[in-house]
Amino acid sequence: MENLTVLSYDLRKDVIEIICAGKAGHIGGDMSVIDTLITLYFKQMNISTENMDDPDRDRFVMSKGHSVEALYAVLAKKGFFGLDEVLEGFSKFGSKFIGHPNNKLPGIEMNSGSLGHGLPVCVGMALAGKMNRQDYRVYTVMGDGELAEGSVWEGAMAASHYKLDNLCAVVDRNRLQISGNTEDVMHHDDLHERFRSFGWNVIDVENGNSIEQLDAAFNKAKTVKGRPTVLIANTVKGCGSPVMENKAGWHHHVPNEEEYIQIMKDLDERKEAALHE
């Protein structure tokens, strides 16, 4: 098995290249969520270019659709399309590689972009699995700022009502949103209690940028019966370089040349360290 932590730095570099090529993107959230995506696509889900139309495949919906650059990097690595295609097309006139997931691209199930849609859609997917007595699992990733959308809680309510233990949601808890700290914009510190009160199994992932911890949490979620599970993944927005880490301004900042050089250097150093861990 490839060292996925090493891979996470390679894919972060791909994300930086995509963003710089398209002069657009949501860099901070890409960097916080990418380890979750890598864990799902390389450790957890039975999704590949071979089985993408198989009714028994696991399903994934990127509810925080603005972090699509991270998804592009992961899907390109999985072979759904070429990284060169993404670099050439991202955010360009007439391109399929737009700034949010769209299901005209192979490997993407649902279009997203507006927040608060992924979880309710996944409730439908998980319900279909139960109705058909299929064993596939359904995953979605939401941002923490996204939790202010009321539709998230409509979905959360239905997921426990229908005992959807085949559904696992992840909250990318990076504690920042476009206007600043989540706790200043709309507080979510009682997140665990909220989900519990909605009937969910809650797993706190202390380091949501640790693939090892995420993998263990997803494995644990699979053993829980009769209710859905949410992973509260405590992540660092901009994770990978001090240039962008924990800085609200990097929600959708495009690195300038100097920043680009420093970020790539930092990512290489961390990759090097991961190689020797």
């Binding site: 009714p55 399903r59 769209n102 299901n103 199930e109 649902m110 279009n111 997203s112 972009g113 507006s114 608060g116 849609h117 309710p120 859609v121 996944c122 409730v123 439908g124 997917m125 998980a126 319900l127 279909a128 699995g129 109705m131 058909n132 009321g150 539709s151 409509e154 979905g155 309510m157 239905a158 009502h161």
Partner: protein
Amino acid sequence: MSKIANKQMICEVLMEASKTDKDIVALCSDSRGSGSFTPFADAYPEQFVETGIAEQNLVSIAAGLAKCGKKAYAVSPACFLSTRSYEQAKVDVAYSNTNVKLIGISGGVSYGALGMSHHSAQDIAAMSAIPNMRVYIPSDHLQTKELVRALLKDEKPAYIRVGRNAVDPTYEEGTVPFEMDRATVVCEGTDVAIIACGEMVKPAKDAAAILKEQGISAEVIDMYCVKPLDKEAVVKAAQKVKAVITVEEHAPFGGLGSMVSQVVGSECPRRVINMSLPDAPVITGTSQEVFDYYGLNAEGIAKKAAELVK
């Protein structure tokens, strides 16, 4: 002449189809009673999903089900379905291209006395403006039966608006003219063309009878397929007559009248008069009282037509 509400007919067609098709799923938002879907929920509990009073959830869940192979019919009052869950209809249904049929029950001013919160006089405009969303407004239960049977055969999104009450049928059992996405010519005429949809088709047909007595020949078109609008039928009718009247249970903007006017204006210019509800909260009353007040009845339509062709 038997008459049942269009919503009841939708339920009956789906129940019949569900005998052999286990992928049909009906969803309600605490609306199984008002939607006449209790028989479906009782007969096919494993193919029925209750979301509670949560229309956004209703539509997103329907989309998720559809994405996994189900034929989802989301049944909820048109007033909520076309506004509260508008974004879910746009993103999860139309944009993601999921096989969801949105069934807007008690549409238009069916809930006449309940006030503007419960009226859906904007749904044609709103839903038609979404790319990849079709809009159907059947006129009676017989046409509704044909429409739902046709919709069961496709996998594309659609919004279907029906009224609350049973209405006098426009057609006769066994001889319902129906071709998917083609308007129905209810009667042919040469002086004026009346193009209507939904509950306005029957009064339009009755208006043609009144006009005939006055020596005026009226063509009546049932445009149940508001989107995709049957442009050919509009042009064909407009070419024969001096003027066109549209009649709809909808606000004056962005509905059937607007769409027909666009076609007539560009393809075969004629005078077009749009009969609709006002751009204002409508007066309190039963739907028939509301229609009568605004002249949306056989007499009102005939009067307008007679004035036009004078």
